[in-house]
Amino acid sequence: MNNLWLLVIGMALVTYIPRMIPMVFLKDIKLTPRLKRFLEFIPYTVLACLIFPGILTSVGSMFSAIIGGAAAVLLALRGCNLVLIVLGAILSVYVAEQVLRIIA
């Protein structure tokens, strides 16, 4: 029991400290333009990693995952609101899954 609490605190610390250090200390340090540019690209490379290939295994089947992903891309290209993109993708996956169930 006691052991589990220590474990949770340990997990909390190793999660929090790497999140906290750059936020608190990097703000005041003057970075070179190259390094700044590197940090500017981080959001996009992180997003790319988070999306692919994880999306393929995010729902019941790869087919419906691709349908959902395609729906999100289409809605995003049309400049839709983020909530609408999320709901649209969920709905498309739901429909795709039901279609798969009927076919199978």
Binding site: L4, V8, T15, P18, L39, A72
Partner: protein, 247 residues
């Protein structure tokens, strides 16, 4: 903190409110995952209080799931902690990037508080905001709604024995991915270098996903970190000028 004048507040929503609003898609995406976490925690032998504290203090999706699994499998504590560390080390680079957009006047205490709420998802929303500077209250609002959704979802999973219906649950697995797509597309439309580095990142990450595991065992944490660093560094070398973002 400077508070805006009263007429200013009446004219438009506060930064905090805007942050809450920007976090709605994150909250929608977190709910089913957190509920699953709660359910899983309950069905394993882990005390409920430990699961609740995990969502409150650790607040990191994947490592909580892995933590519960490893605990149930009787893996040594230090091994679980190291796994968690590696898995979440990627946030180091995210807050490094974010730190450059928080105004210098924001105190260290504030920054320390804001950094607690930085996850893949809140980082993605915050860092794709159009404005160069991020108002700390905006980030706080965004982090607050995501944190609330994660914890409320965990409780629902723990205390209500059933989650969402299986078909709905399964469909909602796409939610956060759809959000990521929604966040990245506008940037892809605006900037050619961003298109290139994203394709590069997808390429490298695919190698880590499909090819590297055939030869060596590498955790998801490392593959995200290495891909992010490589693709961003190559991007900084190939496209050193930041002109494309100031259009």
């Amino acid at each position: 903190m400077t508070t805006p004048s009263i007429e200013h507040q009446l004219a438009k929503p506060s930064h905090f409110q805007l942050g809450l609003k920007a976090g709605i898609p994150v909250a929608i995406g977190y709910m089913p995952i957190a509920m699953t976490f709660g359910l899983l925690a309950k069905t394993s032998d882990i005390p409920i209080s430990v699961a609740i504290m995990m969502s409150l203090l650790v607040y990191a999706g994947a490592s909580q799931f892995i933590g519960i699994n490893l605990m149930a499998a009787g893996v040594a504590n230090w091994e679980i902690i190291i796994t968690t560390f590696i898995l979440n080390l990627r946030h180091f680079f995210m807050t490094a990037s974010l730190s450059q957009r928080i105004p210098a006047r924001v105190s260290k205490k504030w920054s320390a508080l804001l950094s607690f709420g930085v996850t893949d998802e809140t980082f993605s929303v915050a860092s794709t905001q159009g404005s160069r500077e991020l108002h700390p209250s905006f980030v706080l609002g965004l982090n607050a709604i995501a944190f609330a959704a994660w914890n409320i979802g965990s409780w629902i999973g723990i205390f209500l024995s059933s989650g969402l219906p299986e078909s709905v649950q399964s469909s909602m697995g796409i939610a956060l991915y759809a959000m990521f797509i929604g966040l990245i597309i506008p940037s892809l439309k605006k900037s050619r270098p961003v298109i290139w580095i994203c394709l590069l990142a997808i390429g490298i990450h695919s190698v880590f996903y499909w090819i590297i595991p055939k030869y060596i065992n590498m955790s998801a944490g490392w593959s995200i970190i290495i891909t992010t660093i490589l693709a961003s560094a190559i991007g900084a070398l190939l496209f050193p000028n930041g002109g494309d973002t100031n259009e």
